[in-house]
Amino acid sequence: MTTTDSPKAAPPPAGKRRIGDVVFAGLARGSGILILLILAGVAAFLLVQAWPSLMANTSNFLTDQSWDANSRENPSFGVAALAFGTVLAATIALALATPVAIGIALFIVYYAPRRLAATLGYLVDLLAAIPSVVYGLWGMMILAPKLVPVYEGMTRYLGWIPLFAGPASTSARTLLTAGIVLAVMILPIITAMSRDVFQQVPQGHREAALAMGATRWEMIRLAVLPFGKSGIVGGAMLGMGRALGETMAVAMILSPSLAISFDLLQSGNQTIAAHIALQYPEATGYGVSALIAAGLVLFAITLAVNMGARYVVARGNKESA
């Protein structure tokens, strides 16, 4: 009758129950903190192991294009060409994948027959389930030979565009091929993010557009795309983060050489991740340490892109809320 105390129940009586609570809460909080420690460990161990080679390096790590780290004396290496190749490959993948992914997301949400939509979405997700080493195998043995005549045609008719300057590689093991395979690999990520935002478009907006006599495309252009913009951008950047760090497919497809070149149809680029995977087994001297330094650069680039993506998505959510 006189229970005018706080509505929250009094703390449970002291005893065994509270010990259980304390232990469990401690475990849960502990694993959260463990994740922070692991992440700090990743950064710290990489830095510590990269340091010796960076100190011994006789050329500028950030601007040098060559890689001559496998000795104990005067190693000389730089990450410039590798970082360039990494960003260029990811950019190609992004440019190819984003429009297609938006199309797929629209298809699944607004065009496909209702009953089939879930299954079709599942098929797109299957693309993400295939291991990258299998993509590499496929890209190298199946896709590349098919692209050789295409590339020859491109140099002949589009050769005046600097990107497509000839002579085309006779094996098609070039950055464009790697970019195409990467595009296929990041399609599901961008599609999933775009699908999510497209599904959240308020029904009222869509029906308002349709009620005004808009066609389906006009409804999408007026109601769906403006609403989904941040989701699409965020998804594209997450996809780019994935493409930047992708290793095996690139390592298997490219025939590597360290150059800074915009010639997409000629071999002559390499990415950081693929370089690490290919060089590691033969690394001696300062080699491993130098590769770890390259890994740090890759980590930094992907971190920046991913954080940008999260920021865009979070801002979009706030606006639409």
């Binding site: 129940a9 449970p12 259980g20 469990f24 809460a25 475990l27 849960a28 502990g30 694993s31 959260g32 903190i33 463990l34 994740i35 692991i38 992440l39 990743v42 161990f45 990489l46 510590v48 192991q49 429009p99 297609v100 938006i102 199309g103 797929i104 629209l106 298809f107 699944i108 065009y111 496909a112 797109v124 299957l126 693309l127 389930a129 295939i130 291991p131 990258s132 080493v133 299998v134 590499g136 195998l137 496929w138 296929v184 399609l187 599609t191 066609t215 389906r216 495309w217 006009e218 997450l238 760090g245 992708e246 095996m248 390592a251 991740a273 690490i276 770890i292 890994g295 980590f299 991913n306």
Partner: protein, 360 residues
């Protein structure tokens, strides 16, 4: 009163506009018929030039269909409808375009993989087999994949699920934000960097050049943890608040509520998430090349001693050797790996659907 003044004109008063309204549409079946027609015609033309190929056929059919339907629509229905038809064709095209690599890849893996895929291939190792010999199999790689992925799962699942529990049930304020943020950061770690992390760790602990299965398992766990946290978090948030409150009302302490009510309710979802996480890391190659070694040929069940082969690295190393037999082995191993991943993927969906909590 104003209603009556805005009455539409009586039907029949404007015969001209009425016919315009009724003629402005292509027949309902027109797109389907046109698609079938253009497919047939293109096939015929290609066959006449004896250059029939599935890619050229699909591409030309799509182009022919799009051009014809847009022209027809402009004539009959006007510009706006025509634009709508064009976009519809493009959107369908995007989906089919994405399916092309999937179909090609799965077909090739099955086709080329079956050359060597056999019980023999699955049950023998490469011990004593020279690279070019017409013998050998992936048993040692299957063993390695099971051991390494199993150990990674044992490490990642408790940490991941407990962190999700913490984020959903306990965390407030700063620490929650920090952990959420860094889980996001961890999701973005490139797999090769996870491998390098363990390389760096092992160099400090055991000196350079040590590779074993445990190192591989740790690098996979680093990749797995954020995936498990993310999916578990989502699943725990789906558990209705009423269930928790009902439990508290009965005087059940919080930790028992979590263990006996929240986790069992979301068990199906958690399992689905964990299986998808396993499916994701089981195909990881790059970190294992760095940490578990790429030259083991014999069966090794010991995670802490010596190199450990596994399916993805097996594919890669056979591919790099580059002989005809090696390529066959690589394809057959790829078939094995794809089957495993698909199975996990499929089981995860089935479990998620069958045992999903009834939310209504």
């Amino acid at each position: 009163m104003s209603m009556t003044t805005t009455q539409p004109p009586a039907p029949g008063s404007e015969a001209g506009s009425r016919t315009e309204l009724s003629t402005g549409a292509l027949p309902r079946r027109f797109p389907l018929l046109l698609l079938a027609g253009s497919a047939l015609v293109v096939a015929g033309v290609l066959a006449a030039f004896s250059s029939f190929g599935p890619v050229a056929w699909a591409l030309l059919t799509a182009v022919a269909y799009t051009v014809i339907i847009v022209t027809a629509s402009v004539r009959v229905e006007g510009g706006r409808k025509a634009k709508d038809r064009l976009v519809t064709a493009i959107v369908y095209g995007c989906f089919l375009l994405a399916m092309a690599p999937l179909v090609s890849l799965l077909y090739t893996v099955a086709d080329k993989g079956l050359d060597r895929f056999s019980p023999y291939f699955l049950t023998v190792s490469m011990n004593g087999v020279l690279p070019s010999m017409d013998a050998g199999g992936v048993y040692h790689a299957i063993v390695g994949t099971l051991a390494i992925t199993g150990m990674a799962t044992l490490m990642a699942v408790p940490i991941g699920v407990l962190t999700a529990v913490y984020l959903v049930e306990y965390a407030q304020g700063r620490l929650k934000k920090v952990i959420t943020f860094f889980v996001d950061v961890m999701t973005g770690i490139p797999s090769i960097v996870a491998g390098l992390f363990v390389v760096a760790l092992w160099m400090m602990l055991f000196g350079p050049g040590k590779t074993n299965g445990a190192a591989g398992a740790i690098s996979l766990a680093v990749l797995m943890i954020p995936v498990v946290v993310r999916s578990s978090e989502e699943m725990l948030r789906l558990v209705p608040q009423d269930l928790r409150e009902a439990s508290y009302a009965l005087g059940v302490p919080k930790w028992r509520t979590i263990v006996k009510v929240v986790l069992p309710t979301s068990a199906a979802g958690l399992t689905t998430g964990i299986m998808l996480a396993i499916a994701r890391v089981i195909g990881e190659t790059a970190p294992l090349v760095l940490t578990a070694g790429s030259s083991a040929v014999s069966i090794n069940w010991n995670l802490f001693d010596g190199q450990m082969m596994n399916l993805p690295v097996f594919i890669f190393s056979q591919f790099r050797m580059g002989g005809a037999v090696n390529y066959e082995r690589a394809w057959a191993a790829a078939l094995t790996l794809v089957l495993v991943v698909m199975l996990l993927f499929f089981l995860a969906r089935v479990i998620g659907r069958l045992f999903a909590p009834k939310t209504r």
